[in-house]
Symmetry: C2
Subunit: 241 residues, 2 copies
């Protein structure tokens, strides 16, 4: 094995991972799977892909060993292979953010005021939660809250915030968090809350980032009366790292 063929073989392997990250739809799928495992149909629905096409993308990711799949009944569930995959994905996003000014333009175009952009950091949130200074809302779809959430958060799915608006206390600031720094669930929630007169901010990052930073993640107890409480309820048990 000479140097050239050794290098060619090696870089070809590294490029397998690079190629997996080379499609906008696959990046969106990775972001989605960072919230927890999902069957093909759910991936297709959330990304706007046909089922066949979503399946094909998932297999590109699987061949690059970035995702694993397990079959349960009729459905095949896909999930990120490990936390390092998420970390590399977010590192790529972060590099893109610092190098490509276009990303700033896109995010700004969604916001009404520059103030909307400001998010609270994870350590600051941790502090303020311990001092009971804030109300924390998980504004992702309910299933993702069940799969794991920040201890103390209330589950308020995006389409249910409006109906719960008046029940929230007005003497504390409200923090909303969602899937990640570019996810709009929390941004939209903050906008609604401010329109209703609340003090509200979003968490700058999302749940998977919170987890990857080593902060605790809670899960509701299996026997909990989740559905009975109108989708708003606090956490119970803690997850191991």
């Amino acid at each position: 094995m000479n140097h050239r063929s050794y290098k060619d073989a090696l870089y070809a392997q590294f490029a397998r991972v690079g190629k997996a990250f080379a499609s906008d739809k696959r990046l969106e799928i990775l972001d989605l799977l960072a919230q927890g495992e999902r069957p093909v149909e759910a991936v297709a629905q959330e990304t706007g892909l046909t089922i066949g096409n979503a399946s094909a993308h998932l297999q590109v990711l699987r061949r690059a060993r970035l995702v694993d799949s397990r079959k349960d009944g009729q459905q095949v569930y896909y999930q990120l292979a490990d936390q390092d995959v998420f970390r590399l994905f977010r590192s790529l996003e972060a590099l893109a953010q610092t190098r490509l000014t276009e990303i700033d333009q896109i995010t700004r175009s969604y916001y009404e005021s520059p103030q909307d952009l400001e998010g609270i950091s994870a350590p600051e949130l941790q502090d303020r939660l311990q001092d009971n200074e804030v109300i924390l809302l998980d504004v992702r779809p309910h299933a993702e809250y069940v799969a794991g959430h920040i201890p103390g958060a209330l589950s308020v799915p995006p389409d249910e915030l409006q109906q719960h608006l008046e029940k929230l206390p007005r003497d504390q600031e409200i923090i909303a968090y969602c899937r990640g720094p570019y996810c709009l669930f929390a941004t939209d929630a903050v906008r609604q809350l401010r329109h209703a007169g609340y003090r509200a901010r979003r968490l700058a990052l999302g749940l998977p980032d919170w987890r990857a930073s080593g902060f605790p993640v809670a899960k509701p107890k299996p026997a909990d009366n989740c559905l009975a409480t109108g989708n708003i309820y606090p956490d119970t048990a803690h997850e191991g790292t």
Copy 2:
């Protein structure tokens, strides 16, 4: 701007960076540029690409803002846009290394004994250098040594090691380092040194990794009589971070 077009626009930007990492030849170019800036022709020569093709790859990298170029006379020099580009590149390599067993097979195929694989870590090298326990050889091409090297290293380009073999002291272990974890210059040097009866190991990583970890990097003084000393000489001035 609705959620779907916002997401599409964002992930399309992230994918610009992903696509830049999606070619084995571009990864090899990034690895090369991590040693320092280079004109197009040098990139073409080291990667086995035609000049036109190398130029095209470099422009893909430039459009993704991963490299910058500057024109000096007739030549266009390319370099990594910043240290974060190198860090993401190595993170991708590291993820590929842990996820793809094929990479282990390729690296093993080059080694005669498993012992050849073992490299010393940067902190350990730092300690042993301070105690003067080892001789350190920079076995990259001389120009790269000039662009920056580990303080105390001697420059011994790959094709000159043989002629200097007998000049090295036999009472200390010899450490060789090169461009990175998968670069073969140090591996080959260690093999030659062991055949000649020396105790020798390679540094596990390379100079850019040493720099990225925050260890000091030295440059020879401009007025130094570099060429007069047969390409073996110690460092002088230190580089700022």
